[in-house]
Symmetry: C2
Subunit: 314 residues, 2 copies
């Protein structure tokens, strides 16, 4: 396979607290800032910017103040005029776009790694936007190889970058890290340490890549988003009438086949999966998705073939 | 052992949503209200009042709007004058006291069962205020005997009833049910079904008691609150510098001995339990207790001896 030469990654950011109650990311950023205070810039082999993305929401330990900030980084919202009544998260997203972007420009930072938690049993999941960002996919492959304590999955959202709405879409490369299960408003040492390991390995990969190491290509297993499924609800009140079925709960990324149980109603009836095509559910019973009317997403497994890469010489 | 004759329990309430994001209780109350619509008052063998205690917090899926309502049922707060600036939860607590109390009076409802969830791995925990409320302790004993899927523990807070601050203290008897682990803002079918079973068995006991059945006395194992322990924090920012140690996480009600690990700092150091007296930790890593500066409570095991009881004849 041909060797692809790519630009080095000189400017890198690790962001946490984009959702203020997802605490592993908040404490990973806090710990990195403590390390910087202690050791200066040689805390890591490359310079790393650390960002607490939504400080007001972190302070109040809420997902957001006015609206979900991780849906504000599409071009339309980033270029909307700011008025006195603009939501806090729209203002802050535009600030972050100035700091780390501007999105889509040559000035944009090379890579953002944005840290998230989920109440779903998703192990370590790496989410990004394209099937052809070789740098990001090589980092995913590296984490899949190096991390053995929990399953490491790659999720691809096939959205044009101008519509891509999450923080890491501001950078040239980048991905978000989801680690779970962890209740929002809680930090668990086991979940924190998986996230910290993923961040350390990402920095490690970038350092090796920048230093000239060749990374062999190959296959990366990934999941592609297909659609979302909502809870059964009362048609009038919109209140849930069922919970995720105990046989589906905590089984993110299993293969869902026709007839498998999806929901158990509060009065005891089972709702089954009725579709012909077997698919993989994930973000099962994520607390923040109740208001978005999402019980879980469904995805399809795919294999991405990525080329060998090396940093290009000046 | 002598047989004690006690008044029947004619008026009973099941309350949920005292904390608006503890969803099992919200959905148990909703399901009971659906059953009442379907079957009328014969849905249960005794009349049961159902109450959604903090409807505004439930709607916003938050613990509370202005302040923790389950700390508002002490006599001082219940009798404080209401002004335009009174917190929502103080107003609502006084409303509930009119509906279910008044606390300490002969008019007060006979029993409140108040439904809660915790992010801690506490199985089914029954919490109440005295070591001599035989009705409540008999119900606890009954649940300990009948429920086998999860551990059933009894917690006693030794607080004078006038200072007792939680909703069930408004009734003559009563207890709160804590079921976990469940993230706040999430309903899990397994946790919901444990809570529903506990409520159904409570109603079952009251019906049998009111019908004249003799309940044999005996020993009830319980835990008594001793003190609370906070997380290690940065002295300036008050931010956490450590999480619950992985060897303590999810081990609620284990016996903690000198030298056992308590916390793991974000930079990797272990903090150990240094006290001589072995005690039992519970509410370990409860999300709502971060702001109360509580990492866990410590309790002492005790055995309560309760007399045989029967309803007194008119």
């Amino acid at each position: 396979m041909a060797l692809l030469f790519l630009p080095g990654l000189a400017r890198v950011a690790v962001c946490g607290g984009t959702h203020g109650n997802e605490l592993s990311g908040v404490y990973v950023v806090q710990e990195m800032e403590r390390q910087r205070k202690e050791k200066g810039e040689c805390a890591w082999p490359i310079p790393v910017k650390t960002v607490l993305a939504n400080p007001r929401a972190v302070k109040e330990c809420r997902r957001y103040i006015d609206q979900d900030m991780n849906r504000c980084f599409n071009i339309a919202t980033l270029s909307s005029p700011i008025t006195d009544s603009s939501p806090y998260e729209v203002r802050r997203a535009q600030e972050l776009n100035k700091l780390l972007g501007p999105k889509g420009s040559t000035d944009a930072i090379d890579l953002i790694c944005d840290l998230h938690n989920t109440t779903a049993n998703m192990g370590l999941t790496l989410i990004h936007y394209t099937t052809s960002d070789w740098v990001t996919l090589h980092i995913c492959k590296y984490l899949q190889t190096k991390i053995t304590k929990v399953p490491v999955r790659v999720l691809v959202l096939d959205i044009p970058i101008s519509d891509a709405y999450s923080l890491e879409s501001v950078s040239k490369h980048g991905f978000s890290i989801e680690v779970g299960p962890q209740p929002h408003g809680v930090v668990r040492a086991d979940i924190y340490s998986i996230m910290k390991e993923a961040v350390d390995l990402t920095i490690d990969w970038i350092h090796k890549f920048n230093s000239g190491m060749v990374f062999e290509g190959g296959d990366v297993e990934a999941f592609e988003f297909i659609k979302s499924v909502d809870y059964p609800r009362d048609p009038e009140t919109r209140s849930l009438t069922a919970a995720i079925h105990p046989q589906l709960q905590d089984r993110d990324f299993c293969l869902l086949k026709r007839g498998d149980p999806l929901f158990l109603s509060f009065s005891g009836e089972t709702v089954k999966y009725e579709e012909e095509e077997p698919l993989h559910p994930y973000f099962i019973n994520e607390s923040a998705y109740y208001e978005k009317e999402i019980a879980f997403h469904l995805g399809k497994k795919m294999t991405l073939t990525i080329p060998s890469v090396q940093v290009q010489k000046d």
